[in-house]
Symmetry: C2
Subunit: 199 residues, 2 copies
DNA sequence: GTTGCTGCTCAACACACTGTTGATTATAGT
DNA sequence: ACTATAATCAACAGTGTGTTGAGCAGCAAC
């Protein structure tokens, strides 16, 4: 591949993220974007049809990178009875990846961000949550509400923690966050599903 | 007040919500908007500076209406030990208001929606969550994570349930949703804060 | 009902951004 | 060093914006 292509695309992506954080996606013109990226306006159209296509490519990269980075979640470990002192490895991978791309995630999941990206991230996490719920249901545990609502509840909670972590200046390490989430997951597995009666 | 003003503003608001659901806020032109609303393009500028101002006014109305509709949350009731068979009245108010303005909330909280609106809704709900947490902390209960993360967790979970309810066709009644949320809140109050060790 | 106030319509305006084109320059890969 | 191609630059029509002024329409008060 030509180095020039990669350089241009990279600077356009970084410029878009930066400008989105500053004034939001709608208020960015292609002229703004290329000025910030340090290239000509015409160059933009050699690579992308419009702003939206650039945004979608950034989001694709981030999400593909995330699922590539994170190993499989081991359900058995989550469901073990003793309080875990070690974070689930897959969650550790997730939080390390988020930390490595914190600027982009913070903008895209923030108040100037893209609701569609948030929805796609939720959809990915929901997969794991649903798998866990199915695993427990197969063992006779009754969820306290319809399973789609419970997975929406848990998924949103997890993403909410991620958003808060990013927006509050990432004052805790990925290791701490992963441990925290691991314990919440284990808690739900061992306690919540038993103590709440089905509706 | 002049009837014509109210009529025009109302039809502009409805048109914006409808069009946001169809093609997203960014892809709406003022010409689109006024065509759908059945008024002249110039008329729009007699009422609003731009699209954003109209959107903000819609959001203001919805959020003010929500807090006006919902009575105060009674913490004692939530913390009572027996599993509640009746929903918390304030939560019932909330879900009835959401149902009454479901079209607007569904669009604004959806994939074509406004992240800033979601953030404001979260901020409002977070107030109640934080009050409850403070109430329990004052009684010596140790939260399992830093209080800001716990309130982010719970707030996001609640909003996630609301979003899922709206997006999945509102197949359950406001009464059912309110009862469900009431039980989740009570569960956290009576069980979760005790069973999870502080990190 | 007539009158007067004012909200709405309509056409026109300059301005900004878009997406495309063709000619030219710069530069990475061999 | 040569060549392919990426990037630059100026210019273009097309579309949306935000504002203006003159005229029309309808609500309200009497």
């Amino acid at each position: 591949m030509d180095v020039r292509i990669e350089r241009t695309r990279q600077s356009l992506m970084e410029a878009l993220i930066t400008l989105m954080g500053e004034k939001g996606f709608d208020n960015i013109s292609v002229a703004n974007l290329t000025a910030r990226a340090g290239c000509n306006r015409g160059t933009f159209y050699l690579h992308y049809k419009d702003k939206d296509e650039l945004l979608r490519e950034i989001e694709e990269d981030l999400l593909h990178g995330l699922v590539a980075q994170a190993g499989p979640f081991s359900l058995q470990r989550v469901s073990a009875d003793q309080p875990p002192a070690e974070p689930e490895p897959a969650l550790l991978d997730v939080f390390r990846y988020l930390a490595a791309h914190a600027d982009a995630f913070r903008v895209l999941l923030g108040q100037r961000g893209d609701p569609a990206f948030l929805a796609r991230l939720k959809a990915i996490m929901r997969q794991n949550v649903s798998n866990q719920l199915a695993w427990f249901q197969a063992r006779g545990q009754q969820p306290p509400m319809p399973h789609d609502f419970l997975s929406a509840y848990l998924t949103s909670a997890h993403v909410g923690v991620i958003q808060h972590w990013l927006e509050s200046g990432m004052k805790y390490s990925p290791e701490y966050l992963a441990l925290l989430m691991t314990r919440m997951a284990r808690f739900w597995a061992s306690s919540a599903l038993q103590h709440l009666l089905p509706l």
